[in-house]
Symmetry: C2
Subunit: 218 residues, 2 copies
Amino acid sequence: MTRVRIDLFSSLDGYTSKSDDSSENPMGEDWGALTTAYAATRTFREQVLGDPTSGTTGVDDSYAAAHFVGVGAEIMGAAMFGLHTFPDDPEWKGWWGDQPPFGTPVYVLTHTAPRPPIPMQGGTTFHFRSTAIEDVLAEATEAAGGLDVRVGGGISTSRAFLRAGLVDDLHVTIAPVVLDRGTRLWEDLRGLELTHAVRTEVAESGTIHITFTRQATA
Amino acid sequence: MTRVRIDLFSSLDGYTSKSDDSSENPMGEDWGALTTAYAATRTFREQVLGDPTSGTTGVDDSYAAAHFVGVGAEIMGAAMFGLHTFPDDPEWKGWWGDQPPFGTPVYVLTHTAPRPPIPMQGGTTFHFRSTAIEDVLAEATEAAGGLDVRVGGGISTSRAFLRAGLVDDLHVTIAPVVLDRGTRLWEDLRGLELTHAVRTEVAESGTIHITFTRQATA
């Protein structure tokens, strides 16, 4: 059965990096501090940097690897696609390169008039949708063919799905740092531990991994 | 060498329970959710309930036990002593009972005119000070005779010492719950991991323990 999954990064004080939409720091100034352990994993190095010969292989890596397994469709916000970078160029295909690392249908949420789908190399096709997130999720679930739907971000898109109670599996990587600024990841999610089972684990790096898992209904 | 220690409780989203100063919930409505694992420890049951025959003996208990070891003097805010409950009664000796669980000098911070010291049974003497926290800390350090000074709370007093950079050892117990309300424990503490070594550990209960340790100077 398809499950809806999200992976997020947080500081000890519950902040995730605020995107500043600048070309120097598209993920925000604090992104590096939140993702140090993830960037050191073998999975990241292989999947993102194309180097399968280095990286950590412990707890951090097992979570990183799980992120890439079993996904049949992706949902992301317009900013994560890069839609705002060249809003008036219909030829702009986002900033994920010629062969984006998804290999599935990707549903891009937008408030502007939807564009036609963009098929890319490697099995990724970008679809643009301006309907309610519940409707987009229904379409993505259909497209996933029994595999999972991953909500890939950014944080405002992820939080919209969380607030609406649509997420079955949430994994948060907590870096042992205090940011005191950014976007508040947990806001409006009081009592999430009542609807989802919580599991906590510390990696060799000192990074904390928390998973919230909604019990599958019969 | 004397070290300055604080133990705090937090939620995943960085909130500690907000005292509501009501007689039903002096520590705030969410205190129970933050302290479930602590209240289940053998140390808590023995030290606070007087029952040494039950309780957990794992990771949660080892941190609970450490809280009570090696303390030579205590500092607390006026509310934690109970000073505001009967502000006009000079005979009021706080709400810790005839034999408070400190057994050391306890320095109570107050903005009102200091009272004379109150000696209690069991080695506790309450002293009232309205001077700067640095001055009170100097006096407490002298009184501790080489043991540690513990800042016992409440949260505003603890945060005042943290913001001033006066704390050598901070231990935070993070309950795997999302509160989305309360007092923000980490506010103004950005970069605490740069001045203190961080250690993270998960207990059998799923509770996360984080310690910040300032390296002793030679």
